[in-house]
């Protein structure tokens, strides 16, 4: 057992750290509104700040958008631990880079796609040339992926897709949908789903914005009206989508903003050390100390699961419980961080960015709004707990 980074890992960590500090736009870390665990700010900010696109291209040049992929597909051929190191640093500096394509679509294609498919898509993803959006959720379907209704009917070499997706985060800034469709409506719900890649520019696609709680455009509803897609865009085998989705969920979990959590806690500590109220430093208040100590413990716990999950992936183990635990721990943590910050900072934390009185550049105010999205997003906390009970303990499904 060894809790240290190896020499190589340590060197890579330094390289990543130096790179980010050098290449990230000045003041980015202080000025971005991104809250660890929240979904609400990223697409919008990428759209309005071209500097992040430049940064992303530089990451792609180094092969860091696809760190753990083989070099033949444009990756850096590194380990998952190294990938985790990269993610930890990226989120510590609140930088952007990895996205749906590199984190979900790419690994799934690598695992389930044909050789032809791999050659067609992986290098473009790794080079950061194309972006994907997740087309899973549908109206009135709640968080249960098995109730997908958007249909795909085979017609010659094509599929013809009809239906609607919603909560489509970043659909308006992406190139392709990574999409779950129902190909066999007569099969049991979980045996008729297929995964397919759909070009956003296809005829019959309409994207309409949904403005989120922050007043930003991150969500969309997307309509599919007789949209034609070549059958070779089906990922892996048809009707195996449910299984692929479950496995992909496990990979996705590694992308938790563990560095961002730690950063935010550090800033909270700085704040209480530097702020007095009624003549007493906040850092001396035992109730505040208690709250921060509790946060520190929970971050430590999430941290351990983070590295263990990465390590399991390197050893070819499928971290399904660990991944659920990690998701559960970090979404609730995101919420607790925001709520504790609100309590500690008082009314000042309710000020939006732009006010000179807003602590942490208004990030707490955003965070309080944004953290709720992860809690109720796909795979709510309740569902995660059920997964742990079922897969982890072998208890019967209720």
């Amino acid at each position: 057992m060894d809790f240290r980074f190896t020499g190589q890992e340590e060197a890579f960590r330094r390289e990543v750290d130096d790179f980010i500090q050098r290449e990230l736009p000045a003041n980015w870390t202080e000025e971005t509104l991104y809250w660890p665990g929240g979904y609400g700010t990223i697409p919008d900010f990428e759209e309005i700040n071209p500097a992040t696109e430049i940064f992303r291209r530089k990451l792609a040049e180094k092969g860091w958008l696809a760190i753990s992929w083989p070099e033949e597909y444009g990756g850096a051929g590194r380990t998952h631990i190294e990938q985790a190191i990269f993610h930890e640093r990226i989120s510590y500096y609140r930088a952007t880079g990895p996205d749906i394509g590199t984190l979900i679509s790419g690994p799934a294609i690598m695992r389930f796609g044909s050789d032809e498919m791999k050659r067609e898509w992986l290098p473009r993803i790794a080079r950061g040339e194309i972006r994907f959006w997740l087309a899973y959720s549908e109206p009135n379907a709640g968080s249960d992926l098995a109730s997908i209704k958007t249909s795909a009917v085979e017609d010659g070499d094509d599929l013809v897709i009809n239906g609607q997706k919603t909560w489509s985060s970043g659909a308006h800034t992406s190139d392709y949908a990574w999409m779950a469709v129902m190909m066999d409506p007569d099969a049991p719900a979980r045996k008729g789903i297929s995964l397919v890649i759909v070009d956003n520019k296809s005829e019959g696609i309409t994207i309409r914005p949904i403005i989120n709680i922050l007043g930003l455009h991150s969500f969309n509803e997307v309509f599919f009206d007789d949209v034609r897609v070549p059958q070779r865009n089906i990922v892996g085998e048809k009707n195996q989508g449910w299984y692929y989705l479950m496995v992909a969920l496990d990979f996705e979990r590694l992308v938790v903003a563990i560095g961002g959590m730690r950063r935010t806690l550090e800033e909270l500590i700085q704040y209480v050390k530097g702020t007095s109220r009624n003549g007493q430093a906040l850092s001396c208040d035992p109730l505040i100390q208690d709250k921060l100590a509790e946060l520190a413990i929970e971050i430590e716990v999430a941290d351990m699961f983070f590295w263990q999950t990465a390590w399991m992936l390197d050893r070819g183990l499928l971290p399904n419980i660990e991944a659920s635990v990690l998701k559960l721990a970090t979404t609730e943590l995101s919420w607790k961080l925001a709520n504790t910050a609100m309590e500690v900072m008082g009314p000042y934390a309710q000020l939006e960015r732009g006010s000179k009185w807003a602590p942490l550049g208004g990030r707490v105010c955003t965070g309080y709004l944004d953290c709720i999205s992860a809690l109720v997003g796909a795979g709510t906390s309740e569902i995660q707990r059920n997964i742990i009970a079922l897969r982890g303990l072998g208890l019967p499904w209720s």
Binding site: N212, T275, G346, P347, Q350, E352, L369, L375, G377
Partner: protein, 397 residues
Amino acid sequence: MDFRFTAEDETFREEVRQWLKKEIPQRWIELDAGIWEETEESWALSREFQRKLGQKGWLAPAYPKEYGGLEMSHMRRLILSEELNYNSAPISIEAEISVNWVGSALMLFGTEEQKKKYVTEVAKGDAIFCLGYSEPNAGSDLASVQTRAVEDDDGYIINGQKTWCSYAHYANYCWLGARTDPEAPKHKGISMFVADMKTPGITVRPLINILGRHSFNEVFFDDVRIPKNSLIGEKNNGWYQLVMALDFERSLIGTAAANQRIIDELVQYMIEAKHKGESFANDPLIKDELAEVAVENEVLRMMCYRIAWMYSQNTHPSYESSMSLLFCSELLRRLSNVGMRVLGPYGQLDMDSKWAVLNARIMRIYLSALSIGVGGGSNEIQRNIVAMRGLGLPRQQ
């Protein structure tokens, strides 16, 4: 013991309901501006509504008749407040503060002339006060006021800065705490004033809140000259006057009624969503949490009834108010979190989205829950009051 309202009380409640049905403007319902969400349009509507309330004597129903009130009983005021809030009537928080805090304090400490002027204006809905208590980085403790008021032959000259002044940009007057004796110990040497917001030297700057709206302000006083008769009560005795007046706090019955409205709507939503097969709404954990919150709101109502009843018996609540404030602030947090979970991602949409559910009210209560019980460890303070006055434990250092 009797947990009923009298038949006359029930008739009165019905009268209020009918009146509200007629008088709440359709446009107000469309705007649906909650706490800290006022816009110019909603503010104008609420001012107009408050004047109508004032004409009926329902704006400040407890006031003596000579100052525009009805000398209404405590229980009846409770009923009035419940109905106003359950039906989301256009009352701004500032109007409530003007009536319940400022007006009541003026009634206790003002001269006859001051009462005739300010109290009557408030009761008619003609005047709005903003509070000039908080100062930057001073927390919630009035005793650390730094703003100075220097007396000369003509009156007082005010210099300093106030913050968190809600709706100061609309207010007619500022209810101002300022230090008149800088040599005196912390709790002494503070006096209370009424300052006309149009006085030269007063500058109001907006603080944009979490909803992106302009409700709070910083107010700067730069050599602001106000007349002698702006002083309320005794000079240098302001802190004590305020501590006495603090007990005129706004009853939480309004919050309980507003919560009830939310709970009723959430329940309705869950029942309908279940029919549509929405999985969020089927979760037994969420259902249980909602049930628990519903019960707790029932408790909050009872607490408010009891406090009102104590007043009606001329008993002064001591720790009971702290208890209900504490209970209320924790309940609001839980209610808004449960609500967010019931609605799933739909709860995160603002009211201009066609997908928004329940007019985005849950999201807004999630935000307004923040304004109770946070900052300066105020829940801790309330808990200490319960420990001290209720349990007889020693004061905390």
